[in-house]
Every structure is written in C-alpha cells, then in structure tokens.
C-alpha cells in the first residue's frame, strides 16, 4: 500500500524533472492517440449519423454488431492486425509493424465503433425535425446531415472524448503493434505495463498519474473548443 502515496511524489518529480524518456513516451502517446481519434472521427461520425437516420432491413442487427465491436479486446485487435502487418501478412512489405503507424491503425479500429455508437445514440435522441428543417430550407441530404451533427455537437464531442480516452489509456494494441521500443514506440501505457511487470509499482503508478494529467489537459482543450 505504501506505494500509493509514494507514487504521487514520484509523479510530481517526473513531471518537473522533464525526464527525457517520460517526455518521449508522453509525446508518442499523444500523437498516436490523436492521429487515431481523428481517423476514427472521420469514419465513425458519418457512420453513426447514417445508421441513426436510415431505415433498412437488418439495420437493427447492424447496430447490434456495432455494439458488439465495442467489446473487441485489444489483444484480438492486436493479433489480427499483427497478422496483417507481419512480414508474412498481406501488408508485410510496407514494414509497418512496430512503428507508430501500426499503433494508429490498431487504435483506430478500437475507437471507431465507440465513436460511431455514441454518435448513433445522439442521433436517435435528437429532435426529429432537424433533418426536415434543413431540407426544406434547401439543404441536400448531406448538408442536412452536417447540420444535424452541429445540432448534436455535445454528443459528438462526447463521442470523440470517449474514443480518445479509450485509445490513450489502452495498452494491448500499443504493445503488440508498437512493440514498446524505447524511444520510438514506447507510450505511457506500455511504459506503465513494463514498470509494473518489473515490480516497480510506484513508478508505474506515477506514470499513470502523468498520463491522466495529459488526458486532463487534452479534455480541457476540447472543452474550450466546444465552448466557442
């Protein structure tokens, strides 16, 4: 138990010491997660809107499948993409394995169902008159969808925040596809996992506190963005 309080001091030290390795891990975490969440938003938001608005046979089943994808364990995503990126896999020649790009791809796979589901729920809860209003004012279906997203922007922002939280805090994909290589693909979470496996619980926890602080700053920033 002693390590709980110990780790707080440790975290403070880490932050103020600007330890180079910690900095590099923070930076890797940040840019892979940001890249992944941007891609997820680009795919997940339109997917959620489409699924929320359209009425076709099998829609319910598709929604249930999308729900199920939220249960994708990171190890499974890691395994599948590993198979694809590995030298014997279909994309092996690109040499993406154990690079940040591979991590971005894996995290995108994790975050997209989350973003899409959140947006879907927001669309279902939105006022039914929005689409008709936009269309009678002369919008195309696409423009009406864009306006809908603006009307439910609180829900959309929540979707992005949830997806971001998921990827910056996840370790399985980062580990399997990034490889936790010091100075290149070591993220905050893989560093935490490493320290923990070494038995350095206090240091691991300290890194966890640093990670949460980083996430807090990102969220504060997104919050400001939304307030505008």
């Amino acid at each position: 138990m002693g390590y709980l309080s110990e780790s707080f001091l440790h975290a403070l030290e880490l932050v103020f010491a600007f330890d180079r390795e910690v900095q590099s891990a923070v930076w890797t975490s940040l840019y892979t997660s940001s890249g992944a969440i941007i891609l997820s938003a680009v795919i997940g938001i339109p997917a959620g809107v489409l699924l929320g608005l359209s009425r076709f046979r099998g829609r319910r089943l598709l929604v249930t499948l999308l729900n199920t994808l939220m249960a994708l364990p990171t190890v499974v995503v890691g395994l599948v993409l590993f198979g694809i990126f590995s030298r014997q896999g279909p994309l092996g020649s690109l040499g993406l394995l154990f690079t940040p790009l591979a991590m971005v791809a894996g995290q995108m796979v994790l975050a997209t169902p989350i973003v899409a589901n959140y947006v879907l729920a927001a669309v279902k809860g939105a006022d039914e008159r929005i689409i008709d209003t936009a269309m009678t004012l002369g919008a195309t279906r696409f423009q009406a969808g864009v306006q809908l997203v603006k009307e439910i922007r609180f829900g959309v922002m929540a979707a992005v925040i949830a997806g971001f939280g998921r990827v910056i805090g996840e370790v399985g994909v980062a580990m399997m596809l990034g490889g936790n290589i010091r100075g290149s693909t070591r993220t905050m979470t893989t560093a935490i996992a490493l320290e923990t496996s070494k038995g350095e619980f206090a240091f691991g926890l300290a890194l966890g506190i640093v990670l949460l602080s980083v996430a807090l700053f990102v969220n504060l920033f997104l919050n400001l963005l939304q307030q505008r």
Binding site: D127, T133, G138, Q147
Partner: protein, 241 residues
C-alpha cells in the same frame, strides 16, 4: 395558365389510422390557398408532402418544370414553415443565414437581407438572441422570417399565425396577402375561418385525409402583375409591425 404544383392520385399512409388520398389538386402561381379542416384532418401531412419532405406511397406531386430539375433545386423553391418549427442552435441571425448560405448568398447581401426580413416580422434588433431562448410567438416569427428571407416561389405555412399576438396579426395578414404580387404562391393552413377571406385566399377544405371540393375546377385567379423578384423585400416591409 399552368399550375405550379400538380398533385395526382396521391395516396399516403401514416400509422394505421390515417391516410391522405387526393385524386387531383392543381395549385396555380401567385395565388393564396387556405387549407382548413379539423384537427387530424391531414393539413400538416399535405403541406409536408407538397414540400417534398414525405414521399407518397402512390401518385405524384409535380412541380412546374421552370423551377429546376432535381429534388434539391425544387426544395430550394418550395419552403415550408412547420406548425411547431424547429429553430437551429445558435442565434436568430444564424437561423436566417442557414438557407442563404446554401444558396451562396454571403457577406453584405446576406446581412442586409437578414436585417430587413427580421424587421418585416417585427423582430428588428433580435439578430443576436439565442434561438433557444425565445418565446412561442417569437419562434414562429423567426421561422417565418427564415423562409421569407429565401424568397421562394412557393411558401407553405402551417398555422403561421397561431401564436402571433393580436396587434401584429393584421400586419402579418397584410404581408401575406401581398406576397402573390411579388411572384409567390402561398399555401397556408389555419383554424381561423375568417382569415381566408381577409387574405383573399381560396379555400381548400380537407376532412379525414380527403378534399371536400373538386379543386381542379376552381381555378379563378387573383390578378397580379409579376414583379422583378429580387426587389420583393423592400416594398413588402409593413409599417404596422
């Protein structure tokens, strides 16, 4: 004269209890039509169908060819103000700007049109108010302004004066009754049976989803001189409001 909207053999189900079915209905340009009937008769449903927002199960709603080809072009010329209008998030002026932007009208012209239209509906100076913080009558005015500012060829109004105060009512009716002079065709629904006469409107009575009169025959026109469309905002401004 050619009708601007022609409804043929239309049939449309909503839920299990209501169906709208119209054999034949021609609406001529620069006329005012007043839709009356009991609650649940199908007025709003018909207006939504004319606004091309509901696709009928059978039959067709055709709009004069002159107004453009595809659905979006047509919807840009046929604008509906719903019975309980949804205002978009943002300011009053954002609401009016929305349709203008879609038509590529920006900058100064947008600004001017918004200002003069808001003046027209008695909301001068409310540009920056948040749309979600308006009173019932103010909402209805903004919704009307949001349609008027687009200067559509056909204006569909679902009980547009239901929440308008008694002092402004006269000014509103004056405004509406002069729209045909500027090339606009107006179809409005109302429960005020004295209103159609004041507007010089033709009655379309509807009951249980069916028209009570054969309106193909009733084609007597109001006479009005078509005017330069672009100018219609200026002369329309109503002092009394």
């Amino acid at each position: 004269m050619e009708p601007i909207i022609r409804v043929k053999k239309l049939s449309l189900h909503r839920g299990e209890n209501f169906s709208l079915s119209i054999e034949d209905l021609n609406l001529y340009p620069q006329q005012i039509y007043a839709l009356t009937g009991a609650n649940g008769a199908g007025k709003s449903t018909l207006l939504k169908t004319l606004a091309l927002l509901i696709t009928p199960d059978q039959g067709t709603v055709s709009i004069a060819a002159a107004m453009g080809g595809d659905l979006v072009q047509l919807r840009q010329q046929v604008t509906l103000v719903e019975q309980s209008p949804y205002l978009l998030n943002g300011s009053v002026s954002d609401n009016l700007a929305f349709g203008l932007k879609l038509r590529g009208i920006r900058g100064k012209e947008q600004q001017q049109r918004i200002t003069s239209t808001l003046e027209m509906v008695g909301l001068a100076g409310l540009e920056q108010r948040k749309a979600k913080h308006l009173s019932g009558g103010e909402v209805q005015r903004v919704a009307l302004a949001r349609a008027l500012v687009l200067q559509p060829q056909v204006l569909l109004l679902d009980e547009p004066t239901a929440n308008i105060d008694s002092k402004s009512l006269q000014a509103f009716e004056a405004l509406l009754s002069r729209l045909p002079d500027y090339g606009v065709t107006v179809v409005l629904s109302t429960h005020d049976l004295t209103q159609p006469a004041r507007l010089g409107a033709q009655l379309i009575r509807i009951e249980n989803g069916r028209l009570l009169d054969n309106l193909q025959r009733l084609t007597k026109h109001r006479n009005c001189k078509p005017t330069e469309k672009k100018q219609w905002l200026k002369p329309l401004r109503v002092q009394g409001l």
